[in-house]
């Protein structure tokens, strides 16, 4: 196999990006584990530190606390030679019925059909409005 065979096309990178967010939306941790490389690093601006793929996936169920549904909408994806940047709206419905939205940007790096790094930028000052108050 030539070296070029491992170079991902822009189309493949976009598809991988969509697959990642669809899996996150649908709770498909098995898919996430498959499309994130074993050495994938996830960095959040909120914590300012890097976490491993497995740490991230183990924390996935807890991230849903208080939430009934989350959808990743308005995806604007731009691909470059070794990754992508996606700007999107995260819309959530809480168990209280409250609906919230966050605007997030993620820069992803890819290699051999897998995501090798995720850098996530969000604004924690919006979290309270996102979750809403307690049920009346």
């Amino acid at each position: 196999m030539s070296e070029m065979a491992n170079v991902m096309t822009e189309y493949e990178i976009r598809e991988l990006c969509h697959e990642f967010f669809d899996a996150y939306q649908d709770g498909r941790v098995d898919v996430l584990r498959r499309i994130m490389s074993d050495d994938c690093i996830v960095w959040h601006n909120v914590y300012g530190r890097e976490t491993t793929r497995d740490e991230n996936l183990e924390a996935y169920p807890n991230s849903y606390t208080g939430q009934r549904r989350r959808t990743y909408n308005d995806r604007i994806i731009n691909a470059f030679h070794d990754g992508f940047v996606i700007q999107y709206s995260l819309n959530g419905v809480m168990h209280t019925g409250h609906k919230g939205a966050l605007w997030i940007c993620i820069v992803g790096r890819v290699r051999d059909g897998k995501i090798t790094r995720i850098d996530e930028y969000m604004d924690t000052s919006k979290f309270a409005a996102w979750m809403g108050g307690p049920r009346a």
């Binding site: 300012g48 470059f80 940007c105 850098d119 930028y121 604004d123 000052s125 979290f127």
Partner: protein, 132 residues
């Protein structure tokens, strides 16, 4: 035809001009219709307002640096991840991790999106004097 180097040069020129307090170069980086969106209010700031804000920063802040710049070019624009360090008059050095997505037309930034965490504003702005 896509010319990555031109977009990379624009990106560098834009951020370097802020560091060097070179307002004329900064202004020339923005297309006439440029708007700048910020994640803290989800609003598009008009070109003139954004330039006024940046000019005020040049006049009042002793030093601004964009470090750990990681730039990637895509069709129609670029994304830069960096940490901004601002030295305030008091000597306090604030910092913030930022992701800047710029869309480019005719060699100028026509639209930009800036993402950062205002929940960490205490790391960016100097401590306020207690009210008397």
């Amino acid at each position: 035809m896509r010319k990555d180097w031109q977009t990379l040069e624009l990106c560098d020129r834009f951020f370097d001009s802020i560091e060097r307090k070179d307002y004329d170069t900064l202004e020339a980086c923005y297309a006439p219709e440029a708007v700048i969106w910020h994640s803290h209010d989800s609003l598009y700031q008009p070109r003139a307002d954004n330039l006024a804000m940046l000019k005020r920063g040049m006049e009042t802040q002793p030093k601004t640096r964009f470090k750990e710049r990681r730039v990637r070019v895509f069709e129609g624009g670029f994304v830069q991840q960096h940490t901004i360090y601002v030295t305030h008059e008091s000597g306090f050095v604030g910092q913030m991790d930022v992701c800047f997505v710029g869309y480019v037309r005719d060699g100028m930034i026509s639209r930009a999106y800036e993402y950062f965490d205002t929940g960490q504003i205490d790391k960016f702005l100097p401590p306020r004097e207690p009210e008397r």
